[in-house]
């Protein structure tokens, strides 16, 4: 499948049952949605479950996507975010700091150790956020989606998205300050 084929074109083919188009769309976007799910859920294994279910829904509900209302990726983000939020609401048990080792593969030098420790603290602070705030941060901050797209993915207004982001960042800042990182945060 041609990598240059637009998402919209692939969606049309998927709605007609084209497995090749589905594989192409999945290959293209799976890393991103796996990453988003991992940030929201804080657990790599659960994120894989969510990503799997999300793409299977894309396959089975492709005919429901309306290009006049949302980009393909925005629609897919909404599926992933909703699945993540549903999952967190059903089982509020896995804090982020138990999600496994950070991605840094070689924490041998002191800098690496410091980065690993920082990653743990930030993960812990993020993990204590309500799921919608964490989703807002994941989309706007880490995925660098526009505020309009992120609001669509979360099914909220831009103003409501900003409120989620404000609460999220303030909470994380307060938590990190409480962990002793005040000098790094405050001027």
């Amino acid at each position: 499948m041609d990598n240059d084929v637009a998402d919209e074109m692939l969606m049309g083919r998927i709605a007609e049952g084209d497995r090749g188009a589905f594989h192409a769309l999945t290959r293209r976007h799976l890393p991103r949605f796996l990453r988003v799910a991992t940030r929201i859920l804080g657990n790599a294994s659960e994120a894989e479950d969510v990503a799997q279910e999300a793409f299977l829904r894309v396959w089975s509900h492709a005919d429901r996507w309306d290009g006049s209302k949302a980009k393909v990726t925005t629609w897919m983000h909404r599926i992933v975010v909703n699945l993540c939020i549903d999952r967190k609401r059903k089982a509020r048990t896995v804090p982020l700091d138990e999600a496994g080792d950070p991605a840094d593969p070689a924490p041998s030098a002191s800098d690496d150790l410091w980065r690993t420790q920082m990653a743990g603290l930030v993960s812990q602070a993020m993990g204590e956020l309500p799921e919608r705030q964490r989703a807002a941060l994941a989309l706007c901050y880490f995925e660098e989606m526009s505020n309009v797209e992120a609001a669509q993915a979360l099914s909220v207004s831009v103003s409501a998205l900003e409120s989620l982001l404000v609460r999220a960042r303030r909470t994380v800042r307060d938590r990190l300050t409480a962990m002793g990182l005040k000098t790094a945060v405050e001027e």
Binding site: H23, A44, M118, A119, C140, N147, L176, V185
Partner: protein
């Protein structure tokens, strides 16, 4: 742009212009150049940004490949299974059967009554009798 709005946008989007709505960032520039307080707030937001950048979430290639294989396998499994619509049709038939039976009985009864002549228009005399009888119930 007011300082209040500037602080809210900083709190929401952080200090990196790439995350800001473009028009708002343009308006914020004049405030940043004119206000020491705005620059202090911007520095605080940048410090938090630098901490958030430590958040790990990169999915490794192994996880991506594993997940892709799972998706394909699950799709194969679902497509190999009996059509999902079959149970739905069975449920639909079960839920509509009683109502369908009821309407069928009504239709047959209606047809039979029609054949028997029951319900044909009554004569004027009979209608008068009926109305007198009916009025008698009210002491007329």
């Amino acid at each position: 742009m007011s300082m209040e709005r500037f602080k809210r946008l900083l709190d929401a989007y952080g200090a990196d212009a790439r995350r800001w709505p473009e028009a708002d960032w343009t308006r914020a520039q004049s405030l940043l150049s004119a206000s020491p307080e705005a620059r202090t707030e911007w520095s605080r937001a940048a410090a938090l940004d630098s901490l958030l950048d430590h958040h790990p979430a990169k999915a490794d290639d192994g996880a991506v490949e594993r997940c892709f294989d799972r998706i394909v396998a699950e799709l194969d499994r679902r497509q190999a299974a009996p059509q999902a619509s079959a149970p739905f049709m069975a449920r639909l038939a079960a839920s509509t059967a009683p109502r369908a039976s009821f309407f069928a009985v009504i239709a047959v009864l209606g047809f039979l009554f029609g054949l028997s002549g029951w319900g044909e228009p009554v004569s004027t005399a009979a209608a008068d009798t009926m109305s007198i009888t009916y009025g008698g119930d009210f002491g007329l």
